[in-house]
Amino acid sequence: MSAASERQRVNHANGAGPEGAPASERVGGSGGAKPPGLIDRRDFLIIGTKMFVMTSVALAAFENVLAGTPEAAASYNTADHWWAMVIDIEKCIGSGHCVKACKLENNVVDEPMYFRTWVERYHVNPLDMDHPIVDSPNGGMDGFPETYPDATTTGKTFFVPKLCNHCADSPCTQVCPVGATFRTNDGVVLIDKDYCLGCRYCVQACPYGCRYIDPRTNTADKCTLCYHRITKGLKPACCEVCPTGARQIADLKNPKDPVHEFLRTHQIQVLKPQMATGAKTYYNGLDGSVR
């Protein structure tokens, strides 16, 4: 063993620093040498920074490990789709099949006031165009009474099916305080029912009245555009059962979708365009009196 390492060993045994000086001599000493067991500001900052960086990196890595990688959906790529609904008011006869099918498909509470889609009947009196009479008995599910009691021969009457507009800039997702509702990359506004607090902000925020609180779970609920169906190549239940084809699901990113021809040849409107919500439920033949 060399003399140098022998000295070092001895110094360690004495509890002194590697430089070999006794601790007592170094306390309060100036300049270069460090006191044993203590560190100066420079070292503290270096060590502190290292610890901070390493802790942050470790936490970030840990978080990614916890999160895992999102499951890649087989043969369905959200980037390839942009979903919308096209409703032809001229074809709607108010059968209410869509309302019933929606409730059965999505297990919606079978009571009035809980609808993911519903049908309104408008009656517009030409002498008072700004104040249409609107009715929707049980969402239109059981059909409509034959006439309005005061229906005049000059007025016009038509049906307006309503559902979530799956807005591109939806107000409901913007107000959610916890991120329990969101718009997917393929343009569908969904609710995370496990994460929803039931605070009702979104119910207030929706300009179209499309949201409600499910009394069974006390969480927000609304149309999902039958996301469990459209991602498997099926139509939404309401479009499937519509007897006149008044409701059509539309994939605007699919150039082969027949909806493009329809959009080219018809005058399309959305509800409340002044709200700038980027609504994607497109109506053909929408009357100006519809709210």
């Binding site: 560190i39 034959e146 999902t224």
Partner: protein, 152 residues
């Protein structure tokens, strides 16, 4: 010297800081759900949860797979464009296990009336009747066969 005394303060402060950071990090990892933030300000797995819901309506293609005779029967009829499940109801379970779950026939008259009762708001081109005037209390399917409703 003063510098050395300060170091102990700083060490304690630093230890507290690191401890706080660790507590924050662990609490955050525990409280923020997995997959939150991978696609946006939401739980990415929620999309899979919504997709996982079983379907109730089998879809027209599934019906036509077995019931091609009815599809052929309807091919020339006015009702040809209407999906089977529009009248027969959601039957995905029947499509999965045809033998086990036999669907009930729909009750005709209330169903026909949904679409064909004269009603303010229906297009003039659409075939409607005043039910009482048209058939009294007679059941619609006495005269009209639902898959091909034209009376031959």
């Amino acid at each position: 010297m003063k510098r050395v005394k300060d170091v102990e303060h700083l060490l304690r402060l630093g230890a507290l800081f690191v401890l706080g950071l660790l507590v924050f990090g662990i609490a955050r990892a525990e409280l923020v759900p997995a997959t939150f933030g991978t696609l946006g300000h939401y739980r990415a797995k929620a999309i899979d949860d919504v997709r996982a819901k079983p379907i109730e309506h089998a879809g027209q293609a599934a019906c036509a797979d077995c019931h091609s005779d009815i599809v052929d029967l309807r091919a020339q009829a006015r009702h040809k464009a209407i999906a089977c499940e529009s009248c027969h109801g959601p039957l995905a379970k029947h499509a999965d296990a045809p033998g086990q779950l036999v669907p009930r026939l729909p009750v005709a008259r209330p169903l026909c009336v949904h679409c064909h009762a004269a009603n303010t708001g229906k297009s003039k081109r659409y075939p409607t009747v005043d039910i009482k005037d048209h058939a009294g209390d007679e059941n619609c399917i006495t005269c009209h066969k639902p898959h091909n409703p034209r009376i031959l």
